[in-house]
Amino acid sequence: MNELKVFTEDQRDCLQEIVNIAMGSAGDSLARVVETFVRLSIPKIRTIRPNDMASALVSLSSSESDTVSAVRQSFQCDKGQDGLRGEALVVFSQESFQDLAELMAYDEILTPEAEQELLLDISNILNGACLNGIASQLSTSLSYSPPSILGQGMPVDELVQREALTWDQALSVEINYSLENRSFSCDLLLLMPGSSIDYLCIKLEELIEED
């Protein structure tokens, strides 16, 4: 097992600010769709091992709900394996759907199919804005796989069974989006392999030196 990669304090601070700016842009995109103020909190950035994956999922704010739904999408930059790549998971608390349906003026009853559509739509909005926001600040661009449903209306313990980390370590970036006076809560969890951490270290160092 390789040693856990660590950022210098300056690199971590720089990455945190890049993620903040990307989160703000994704929050704004979400706010425009639901026409409601989106509450942002400070993103959590850390390096995890495959063993930490389950607790990372369980500790998400949206996982406080009895059941959750999640969407997975992978991303990769034009540099291929050596550039920025990884997986974006968007986890929604079950209560989120009723809120979304109301806010987006869905007239019909929320069928599992309609829920799926909402899941994919909102995930696309958040992933696109956030990941493009990160990529553009690093002067790179990303391509995406189509999003797929990882699980729908299941306890988080079951979701954990479906998402294993195949890398020996990963950079985990956790961003929560919630709506004021609503129970809507969803988390965007970005997971990137060790090679992306190396790539980020170089890119962040360049940005720090420009300063």
């Binding site: 300056d10 600010e17 903040n20 700016i21 842009s25 704004d28 103020f37 989106v38 942002l40 300063d211």
Partner: protein, 121 residues
């Protein structure tokens, strides 16, 4: 006399970016604060007649600082510099007494434009 200027942001990089974006000719005495609690203390201590304030911060966020300044009737001019670019975030800080709102990332052109708009240069 130099104007006491406070830059309140939890990110070291963001604080440095703001400092670097300051107009060269501006005679200011810069103080840094890394969260809202430190920020409000600095304002109380007369270190922030002019304040550049972030919103999303630990301990106390930017909204908390604006509320405290209003409540305690502290004399300062606050310009919010934030990544929370929702129009609603701007409306809220303006209601709480901020002079203006600048979207992150900051640069010297944006800052100079806002400062000269209010005759602060």
């Amino acid at each position: 006399m130099a104007i006491p200027l406070l830059i309140c942001d939890d990110s070291n990089m963001a604080r440095k970016q703001v400092k670097r974006a300051l107009p060269e000719s501006w005679d200011v005495d810069v103080t840094f604060a890394t969260n809202g609690i430190e920020g409000i203390d600095a304002i109380r201590g007369g270190k922030g007649e002019m304040v550049f304030l972030d919103l999303t911060m630990p301990e106390m966020d930017g909204y908390g600082v604006l509320e405290a300044v209003k409540k305690e009737n502290l004399k300062c001019i606050i310009i919010v510099i934030s990544a929370d670019i929702q129009p609603e975030a701007r409306d809220r800080v303006m209601t709480l007494g901020a002079l203006d709102f600048i979207k992150k990332p900051i640069n010297s052109e944006k800052l100079a434009e806002v400062l000269s708009r209010y005759g602060l240069l």
